[in-house]
Amino acid sequence: MIEVGVWRGDRAIQFLSLARNLTWYAGFDLFEGMDSETFASERMGACHPQSYEDVKQRLDTASNGNCRIDLVQGSTHSTLSDFALKHAGTFDFIYLDGGHSLETIANDWNCSKQLMSDKGLVVFDDYYLNDTTRGSKPLIDDLLSDKAYRVRFFPVVEDIIDDLQITMVTVSRASENQ
């Protein structure tokens, strides 16, 4: 699986414990390399950068030893693109919760399309029903009319702190009949 937006590694640890059959986890993040300008433009909210080494150590501790863990530091505009060239069609599950700008989400999706296996599944975090200036809504709404993909929405909850109506979305190939 791939996780874009590792932050502290909390979710990665949960995935590592939940997915007993997981053989390869690849996480992408800027970690401490995120400058204040990027932090603002990607609308990162309360997700203040964490150190690569700290997160790597946490994940290694949580690993059961059977799963390869790769953490890749840097902007996904370059790191994920390079990774997609090398590992196209390899991943069953990709979780996108990195930068919240429309450009970054579009880039992450373009790479995920290459990386996902035939039966692969991409989950988009941060679909905001009441905000189209950030998050995955504009991209997903376009995907709804793309017959090559199947889109499924999770329930909606209210984020009262940021006044957002939030949901998540899964995208799979329409040819994958599940």
């Binding site: 939940l18 997915a19 997981l22 599950f93 999770f154 329930p155 984020d159 009262i160 939030i166 998540m168």
Partner: protein
């Protein structure tokens, strides 16, 4: 204060094919609170099988059923809201956080409906279950304003198990009501039927269904054994064993599955005796229903059943099938009617009595008005809600997460 019109959201997953006493209790709770004038929304996933068994209750039509994943829109701008979480054990877990987030969004009070706990279950059941199955119950208890158990015994174990609760959390018990209105309307008429309400299957060993096979004796001759089961029924091989055993003693077997309360009470009233061989119960409706209908009942000796059954139920040691058989033989040979305990049962678990106690409990819970939830807690629940929703989805979809 709760009066006069609190908004109450009861969150309960109701999609399982099998009967669940906890979920049945939750629906009675909805009826009781609606009858006291509160705005009740029942947030399930499917309309429960037994929901329509309460259609003759005065406030039945005022209960709003919401069957979607997204939280319902609460009907008023009340500052007096309560979220009652009816817990479940297996995925989906996202609902727990959705319910807590709703509470945080509106400053609602949170109540956990507790009908079992691992320390209790594992002390009674012949087969232990891992404690982690109850983790999410503890999660809710940790943030609850009140933990309402369905028995005194349940509250006693809850006090130990939910030691993570807030210091001001109210720990109480109220015996749930039985569907007395339907019981009263069910047809009368005695027969020589022996009735047993139980469940079979690997996950229901604590229900003691197979013990029934070993208690059958000559006393079944000329009589019918009626097994009332949930919708999942029983394996064909087990059914054949029951048929064979009944036949050997000159009796008959009849099986009913997923029946309405009306049918259930009609069959209880037709019965000469009820057998209830469960090793663990959170409350134990059938013996109480038998007492209400004036039908003798033999049950394994569980402290929870003694709370109401001391005078109306014949108790035998757990697992002592010979003692059950002997007691059945004795009761069936008696000509005098059983002790009339109906008025006692009505007083304890009649609908009106229950509604009054529940109303009082929720008033106490909401005595300090709206609750404040920190941003930190809200963010934490939002994060967990996301994760659990994904995990719920993936556990059904990707082999990776099996």
């Amino acid at each position: 204060m709760l009066q006069p019109n609190a908004d109450v959201l009861i969150s309960a997953l109701t999609g399982s094919g099998n009967y669940s006493g906890g979920r049945y209790h939750a629906w009675i709770m909805a009826e009781a609170l609606a009858s006291r004038g509160h705005n009740v929304t029942f947030w399930g996933n499917q309309f429960p099988l037994y929901g329509n068994d309460f259609k003759d209750y005065e406030a039945h039509k005022r209960i709003k059923f919401h069957g979607k994943n997204r939280a319902p829109s609460w009907s008023t701008s009340s500052n007096n809201r309560i979220v009652i979480v009816v817990p479940h054990m297996e995925r989906p877990f996202g609902r727990y956080y959705a319910a807590l987030l709703e509470a945080a969004r509106f400053g609602a009070r949170v109540v956990l409906l507790n009908f079992e706990s691992p320390n209790w279950f594992n002390s009674m059941s012949p087969e232990r279950r891992p404690e982690m199955l109850w983790d999410k119950w503890r999660l809710v208890a940790q943030h609850a304003d009140g933990i309402l158990s369905s028995s005194n015994e349940g509250a006693r174990f809850a006090s130990d198990y939910y030691n993570c609760r807030r210091s001001d959390c109210l720990l109480e018990y109220i015996h749930p009501a039985i569907n007395s209105k339907v019981a009263d309307s069910a047809s009368e008429g005695r027969s020589e039927q022996i009735i047993a309400i139980t469940r079979f299957g690997n996950s229901n060993k604590h229900k003691g269904g197979l013990d029934m096979l070993h208690v059958l004796g000559p006393w079944i001759c000329g009589r019918q054994l009626l097994l009332i089961l949930g919708r999942n029924g029983m394996e064909q091989s087990i059914k054949m064993l029951f048929e064979k055993r009944c036949y050997e003693y000159g009796g008959e077997l009849r099986i009913l599955q997923g029946i309405s309360d009306y049918q259930k009470f009609t069959e209880i009233k037709r019965s000469r005796l009820m057998l209830f061989l469960s090793y663990f119960e959170g409350f134990g409706y059938p013996p109480v229903e038998a007492m209400y209908c004036g039908v003798p009942c033999i049950a394994y000796d569980l402290p929870v059943l003694r709370e109401l059954g001391e005078t109306g139920v014949t108790f035998v040691a757990r697992g002592d099938v010979n003692a059950v058989s002997a007691a059945a033989s004795r009761i069936l040979s008696e000509t005098s009617p059983p002790t009339n305990v109906r008025s006692f049962v009505e007083q304890q678990v009649g609908f009106e009595a229950y509604a009054t106690k529940l109303d009082r409990f929720l008033k106490e819970i909401s005595r300090d008005g709206k609750r404040h939830y920190s941003d930190r807690l809200h963010r934490k629940w939002l994060w967990r809600w996301k994760f659990e929703n994904i995990a719920d989805y993936l556990s059904n979809r990707l082999q990776l997460f099996k």
